[in-house]
Amino acid sequence: MKIDIKGIWGALSSLKYLFQPPGTLRYPDVKKEAADGYRGFHDNDLSKCIGCGMCEDICMNLAIDMVKPKSEAYLNAKNGSGLIPRLDYGRCCWCSLCTDVCPVNSLKLTKNYVYVSEDMNRFIYTPGEEKLGKREKETVK
C-alpha cells in the first residue's frame, strides 16, 4: 500500500487561507465602478434628440417605441417629429445598436445597471424624461 504524502500535505496547504483576508467585495457597503464601455441602462440627452426614430427602426427586439413626451418642454427646436424613444426593459438586450445608430449621440448607455422591482409592469420608461421606476418608490441605485 502506497501512502501519498504529497497529496495529503498539498491539500492541507489550503488551510493558509483561514488566516488571510477574504477576497469578497462587500457589495452594499463597497460598490465597484463598472468598466468603461459597460452597457447599463439608457440615458437620452433631450437637448440633442431629434426624434428621427432610427433607434426604433434598428431595434430588432421591438423594445423601442417613439412616443409623445409628457410636456413639449422636453423637446428641443430641432426635434422634427415631436417624439422621443421609450424603452421596454422586458425586451431590451443591451446590444447597443440604438446608441450606435443615433445620429446626434443623444441616446447613450450609462453605467447604472441595478434595477429591481416587485411588479413586472414597471420595466418601461422614457429615458431623459423620467427615471427608471420613478412611478413607484423604487429608484435607480
Binding site: 426624434g51 417613439m66 417629429s81 421609450r86 409592469n121
Partner: protein, 188 residues
C-alpha cells in the same frame, strides 16, 4: 501515394452517379447525388473508405426553388476528411428512407429534422416528438412558418404601458403641415 480528397472524390465518382462535387477547403468536400444513390454512397463511405462517424445531418429550406437540401456529413478518423453528401427532396410530403442502419446516431438527427422540418424518415425506430411537446400544425423551422403570427396567436405579449406609440413619419408630416399652415397664416 498520399491520400487526397480529390482521389477520394474520383473514386466515388467512378462508382456512383454524382451530379455535382466541390472541395470547399482542405479536407472538406461536398457532393450532390440523387435520393436513390444516397444509401449506396453512404454505405460505400462507411464500409470501403472507412468513414467512421456521421457528425450531423443538416437540413436547409430552399423555399424559392421549392426543395429541402439534406446534408449528411461523414467524418473519417483515419484521413480526417469530412464529406458532405447532399440530396434534394421536395418540400411537401417528402420522405427519405432512414440511414439509421448505417450509423446509429442518425436516429436522433433524423428525429430532429422530422420535428423541425416535417421530413419523414421511414424505418426510423424513434421518430417521435423531441424538443417540442404537443406540437400541432406546421413544423417551425420551415421558412414559410410565420413565427410572429404564431406568437401573436399562442402567447400574450405585455401590452400594458406600451400604449401610445406613434409612427415617426406620420408625426413628422403632421408637424410639417402644421408648420406650413402657421407660416401661411403669418404670410397672410
Amino acid at each position: 501515394m498520399t491520400e487526397t480528397i480529390d482521389n477520394l472524390l474520383e473514386r466515388i465518382g467512378r462508382n456512383f452517379q454524382i451530379t455535382g462535387q466541390e472541395v470547399k477547403k482542405a479536407g472538406l468536400a461536398a457532393l450532390h447525388c440523387s435520393q436513390e444513390q444516397l444509401h449506396g454512397v453512404l454505405i460505400y463511405l462507411k464500409e470501403v473508405e472507412k468513414f467512421d462517424t456521421l457528425t450531423m445531418i443538416g437540413c436547409a429550406d430552399w423555399i424559392e426553388d421549392d426543395y429541402f437540401e439534406l446534408s449528411y456529413m461523414a467524418y473519417s478518423f483515419t484521413t480526417f476528411f469530412t464529406v458532405m453528401v447532399k440530396i434534394r427532396v421536395s418540400r411537401d410530403g417528402s420522405s427519405v428512407p432512414t440511414v439509421e442502419g448505417i450509423w446509429r446516431q442518425a436516429r436522433t438527427f433524423e428525429r430532429e429534422i422530422h420535428e423541425m422540418f416535417g421530413v419523414d424518415f421511414p424505418g426510423n425506430t424513434r421518430l417521435k416528438e423531441f424538443f417540442l411537446e404537443n406540437w400541432q400544425g406546421m413544423p417551425p423551422m420551415k421558412r414559410d412558418f410565420d413565427t410572429v403570427q404564431f406568437v401573436k396567436d399562442h402567447y400574450k405579449l405585455r401590452e400594458e404601458g406600451r400604449e401610445g406609440a406613434c409612427n415617426v413619419s406620420v408625426e413628422r408630416k403632421k408637424r410639417i403641415d402644421a408648420k406650413k399652415l402657421e407660416l401661411k397664416k403669418e404670410g397672410e
